[in-house]
Amino acid sequence: MIWHIFKKDWKLLWRFVIAVAAVQFASAAVRFTLDQHGENETLESLLNLFIFMTIFGAGFLIASLIHQDAIPGVRQDWLVRPVKRRDLILAKLLFFVVLVHGPSVAADAVQALADGFPLSQALGAAIGRTLYLMLYLSLPMLAFATLTQNMTETLVGGVGVFLGVVALAAVFRNGRGPTTFSGIVWVGESLWFALALVGVLAVLLLQYFRRKTLLSRCLAAAIGLLCLATTSMPWKPAFALEQRMSPNPGASSAIEVAFDPRQGKFARPSGMRQEGRVRPRPEDAGTTVYLPLQFTGLPSDAVLRADRAEIQLTSESGRTMFAGLGDDLVVRKDGPSEGQAPAYHAMVIRQPVYNRFQDQPVRVEIDYSFTLSRLAAAYGFPALDGNQTTPDLGWCKTEMNASETAIILRCVAAGRVPTCLAGFLEHIPSGRRNPAQFACAPDYAPYFRQIVPDAMSRGGAGLRFRDPSGLAKFPVDGPQLPESRFVIRTYEPQDHFTRRVVIPRITLKDWEAQ
């Protein structure tokens, strides 16, 4: 009877299904046009509207699907009919997969095919995004709909849940835990998904087979709280799991890091921004101390990134004066390496703490969680009007920016793309290069994490070749651009590991920047 119930729901909802699918395809068409022809304010506004319509349309469609044979209540005709509950739930799930998510998969896949990606890649990306969307949003929506009797209840309940989540998220540090904004955020997220999946299954089974709405609502609330709690997942167990999943475990075994006072104080380059340095948060405002470090055992063409550095300063009496996090730290070795690399690690000490202890000897302990990435591929695109497809960055185009000061590279790929990249402009005949720019927004998730707008990853980079003020000179500049190329290097994680640096005795004031 699964197919029979499915057909009944189709008969009742086909207009809705087609409307939502039409918006999804229209959205795909707009995104395709934007990819082909570049920025367009009107189309981007339209796209935002389509995204909003798709999410809400799909949400309403899911609720309507469930409410055709609502669970709570005592007046529904299906309750007195010989309808097997198993058939009913399977019919709803079939409809959910085929007619709610099917059009989304089709729209994403068609768009990727139109962009020139092979069918397998297009379909893989589309299915990957849909699975993520299901776990994140639509399956919980489906379970939620079974707890309500009609659309009014769903809307009122939905608003209530939203307000509850906002209030609770504030309790859970605005949803920002130790792993948030790191490459291992997926660990907590996966736990969230596992809990949500268990919750969804439990609610569906309880509702369809027992019609225990009150119990199901309590269970859903409890699971929701547990899911929110996963955003506060502690760093160490999450990183330990990431370590176990290293693609090339042991690749970092030779790498060591030590305090190296011989490097002297950090000298801030005049007029240059430190690579990878982020602006401190207001609550972290204080004095920045730069600790000189020496890395050894680094392989060639490698990027070492500190995903987290937990710093603890202890006074001579053994009292903890400061416990916090160090700034971003990235060490890159291009080309063949003799294994050594100096670096300074910045840490912002809160002003009252710094004022009090700046002259006193302190013990510093730093627990590093590192990720070693190695060069995976390098691509060269003509600096001007380049247009080519690469296996992992997808379809890329280069063009000069409007102010004619930089070359812009824009790429669009079906599915995941490398998240650590280095790029530079190179004059082919002479081999001259502009300074490389490095960007890394690590995401070590073993799956594609994207909800909107589609299953495509879009990225871009701009490399300057001219300083309008005339202060900076670039080895590769305007006249050489026709014979130059935009080189992009991609890096893939090899190993995740930890190291501990202990500095028995230093004085903070000695390590301020010059």
Binding site: K8, Q76, L79, V80
Partner: protein
């Protein structure tokens, strides 16, 4: 006779409110059992429990021999259900919904379906949402009969129906009734008069009595006694004589355990010489009014069989 429905000490609470309290009754096979009571008496709650739409707080109900909490599609395929507030998919037409329901019932009779549709004058192309209240009830009946259920449960089926539609509904129902056991709830006595073979009376969630209709109508009489001399009704009258009053030498009361053989003798011993006795059968409505008053006055015990 086998009981198609057996309810035992059934209780259902909504929060702290007792909707049904300690209900016990049984519906014999082949009977047309009427569950009577005012609005809020607990009739619909009882029926929802029987259909496993609601779970009992305590006690049990067995329907077709199965605990109501374990009713499966197999039992539901043998139960027809019609309710005044039955939500059917409004955007389907009458015909589309029947098409949808048909495969769920192995015993569905297409010919019977057609004849019921024709008899009830239901337009197959009309959307359910566009049907009037009466038409919806007829639609519910049309969905409940074509599979020839063993048990037909009708929850306030006549509520809000005009007489013409009611008659059409009843005709449709009675023509198909056959061997079917029917449980019908109503707060309107005239609706079940001539239909019910058994009756149970519910008041504020409690069962006041359960009896076959023939027994009930057989034992209730409105008795007018003309005495030889003026008499007054005093406290010595039996409990089964209700609403006794005298006007001159005429004593009037309602006899709840009427038996022609013993009445004369009893009257003479209690009120003196009797000139004439006139015992009139009572209309169902009058019986229920009498019982309801007796229940209110705490005099119900004396009215039991």
């Amino acid at each position: 006779m086998t009981a198609m429905i057996q309810v035992s000490e059934l209780c259902k609470k909504y929060g702290r409110t007792d909707a049904v309290q300690g209900l016990t009754f049984s519906v014999p096979e082949g009977s047309a059992f009427a569950l009577i009571g005012a609005n809020g008496a607990g009739k619909t709650t009882t029926i929802k429990v029987l259909m496993n739409i609601l779970e009992p707080t305590s006690g049990s109900a067995r329907v077709l021999g199965v605990d109501s909490r374990k009713i499966s599609p197999r039992e539901l395929a043998e139960i027809g259900y019609v309710s005044e507030n039955q939500d059917m998919p409004e955007r389907l037409t009458v015909g589309e919904y029947l098409d949808y329901l048909r495969p769920f019932y192995t015993e569905w009779d297409r010919e019977l379906e057609r004849s019921i549709l024709a008899q009830l004058r239901l337009p197959p192309d009309r959307k359910i949402g566009a049907l009037s209240h009466g038409m919806r009830l007829k639609m519910a009946l049309a969905c409940a009969l074509p599979f020839r259920p063993k048990l037909l449960i009708l929850d306030e089926p006549f509520s809000g129906l005009d007489p013409l539609v009611r008659d059409e509904f009843m005709e449709g129902l009675l023509q198909q009734a056959g061997e079917m056991t029917i449980l019908i709830s109503s707060h309107e006595l005239s609706e079940i008069d001539g239909v019910a073979t058994h009756v149970a009376f519910l008041d504020e969630g409690k069962l006041l009595f359960q009896e076959s209709m023939s027994d009930l109508t057989g034992r209730f009489r409105e008795v007018h006694v003309t005495l030889e001399r003026e008499a007054s009704a005093n406290g010595q009258l039996p409990k089964e004589w209700l609403q006794a009053r005298t006007v001159g030498n005429v004593l009037t009361f309602i006899h709840t355990r009427f038996s022609e053989d013993s009445l004369g003798e009893r009257l003479e011993s209690l009120v003196g010489e009797v000139r004439r006795v006139d015992a009139q059968p009572m209309a169902l409505r009058s019986i229920f009014t009498t019982l309801a008053r007796a229940a209110r006055d705490g005099a119900l015990e004396g009215t039991r069989k």
